[in-house]
Symmetry: C2
Subunit: 342 residues, 2 copies
DNA sequence: AATGTTTCAGTTAACGTTAAAGCTAAGAAG
DNA sequence: CTTCTTAGCTTTAACGTTAACTGAAACATT
């Protein structure tokens, strides 16, 4: 049996015009029910699948979404991505996965390539930088939604954690132990999430009557090893008991390693709290105290927002007017999960 | 400044024909160096990016790759995917991420959609089933490479772990403790990796003079919770010391939870070994004994093989002959990583 | 000087789809 | 019976790109 890959093949098999087949498959009212059924049955029988490339070409739009995050192996982003994929799939979109590794250059290159691919939209966690990526996206008129971070200077649509609240909750919790030193192993200080958490941390200390010291905040922790190194240095200088709040669970894991290396115990010598609620850490002993973040929900919400925005743009393009999209800012509520490291 | 998105825009700006611009951008020898430079400079200045949809349409091929795995949040697959993305990006391909959740229906639907998208190739870990996916891929003439699993009945190109060796190493290691019971918490018994590991496990026991008992092998463990439940039941029936070998680190984590719940200790009461070498577990205490798997390397190798296969097909299509691709089977070497749970 | 070759450009057509416009016959309205 | 409408199908054109072909001028070879 000859392969049926084009409308033409179906049309010839049924002795109707190509357009008629196209209309039948797209449920166009022009076609009589009888003929429609005939065509649909035949298409099904022949296992026909429309050529999306041709369709995208003709319609000047695709069902592809760019998904740019720093690293898909980061358990946090992995779950965000899963949420995105789930929603996009349900809506007939497909996700192009891109790892930026926090590199602005890579990120902008990705965006250029996504423009070439004519993607319907982009979801991204912008790398620390000067907002070049979002400016490009605006310039290319590509709908986008930021996830987990946002840019203060510009008005954007984003889904993020209520970082201030997260920082506040965590620091307040640590304050309750009354340890003399309350450290904060922070991520890159220029990104919104780091700033928000630090602000929350500072406010919590203030509310607890603790004067924050500059050396308590250690910025630039990106991974487990950075957490390990930072904690190691802390424990060389400071005598337990000490409290350590971490920007991520990854960092907390590294810190825990340093604690154990020193033969200190959690939570007795070191009260430790992470952020993200990575699933592994609720199983292992000691189960990590952390700030829960609705990661999949964040991804899903971001995807839904993007779809909304894409729809608005499509409608506007049709009528040849401005999209009139009003930016939306959504903050997810963090949750204090007290377990065994504090 | 008007937006320059088409060759036509460039051509008009430079007063040359569209084809000339196309040739210049594609480094065709027809164009003189002088003119070529002129056009390239102008294109760069105008920030032109070729319309990949139109290009794909014209050339009847895309630079898209389907990446179908069960779940991108699984730390194992996350690293495999990262390896894939890395290589594909370097070669100008882009990855469409799809989570099958071990569901054959979903998987085949994905493949149908990928056919519509005209992807250049597909990388996948086939869900346990009857080989429907690979048959579809063959039928649609889409180049593909299997990763981490293969199908015994059919001849395929794949990159997988030497599962037999992995099972053998792990079981042999556990045998050295001389515990009376040596359990194996296995994954779905119908997939190649489970079979291979079980075969290795059996052989190791035999070589150690241990008669394997049917009840030692507990199949169907998919996640942490399954590992927890299985270990819990084991510890209700059997008195320590006992050895438990797990198909994955995820399962081992669950098992460790059950061990700790019973107030047994690792490795004294229970010698535990996992598989995969998930990065978290080398940091936390107790650091898990496991079988190391080169996950990123597996992804990279799979991607390279797929590119090879795509190239072969492209060449064959050009000459209008059979591709003559000979299937390749690549096995990665596992590594015994003895740490603190055994 | 006549002929062949090379260089460098332009013209044409096609990839599969669908929106818009066109056409015909049947049915409705006057 | 004529005119108007509608249902249901077909024809045409276009999306941006590039392979194949065409053509003119410059250059090389006898």
């Amino acid at each position: 049996m000859k392969k049926v890959t084009r409308l033409k093949d179906l049309a010839e098999g049924l002795n109707v015009s190509i357009t008629t087949v196209s209309k039948a498959l797209n449920d166009h009212p022009d076609i009589s029910p009888k003929r429609k059924k005939e065509i649909l049955d035949y298409a099904k029988k022949m296992n026909y699948m429309p050529n999306q490339v041709a369709r995208s070409f003709r319609q000047q739009k695709t069902k592809l979404i760019g998904v740019i995050f720093s690293d898909n192996t980061n358990p946090f982003y992995a779950r965000v991505i899963r949420g995105i994929e789930e929603v996009m799939f349900r809506h007939g979109y497909h996700c192009i996965l891109m790892n930026s590794y926090e590199d602005v250059e890579r990120e902008t290159q990705f965006i250029d390539e996504l423009r070439g691919l004519n993607v319907a939209g982009v979801l991204l966690t912008p790398a620390a930088g000067n907002g070049k990526s979002t400016r490009l996206l605006e310039q290319y008129d590509i709908p986008y939604v930021l996830v987990n971070r946002y840019l203060e200077k510009e008005k954007n649509t984003y889904v993020a954690l209520d970082d201030y609240q997260a920082g506040y909750m965590a620091a307040k919790h640590l304050c309750s132990y009354g340890n003399e030193n309350i450290f904060f192993l922070n991520f890159l200080p220029e990104v919104s999430s780091s700033k928000g958490r630090e602000a929350g941390y500072r406010q919590a200390l203030e509310d607890c009557g603790v004067a924050a010291r500059a050396e308590w905040i250690i910025a630039g922790c990106m991974n487990q090893n950075d957490g390990y190194e930072a904690a190691k240095r802390i424990l060389e200088k400071v005598k337990p008991p000490v409290s350590i709040m971490c920007y991520s669970d990854n960092i907390a894991i590294g810190a825990a390693g340093a604690v154990q290396e020193r033969r200190y115990t959690l939570p007795h010598d070191v009260a430790l709290i992470g952020t993200d609620d990575i699933s592994l850490l609720s199983f292992l002993s000691p189960r990590f105290t952390t700030i829960g973040v609705p990661k999949m929900r964040m991804g899903r919400k971001g995807a839904e927002l993007l779809i909304e925005r894409i729809r608005a743009k499509e409608k506007a393009d049709e009528l040849d007017e401005e999209s009139g999209w009003t930016d939306q800012q959504i903050l997810m509520e963090p949750e204090l999960l007290i377990r065994e490291t504090s």
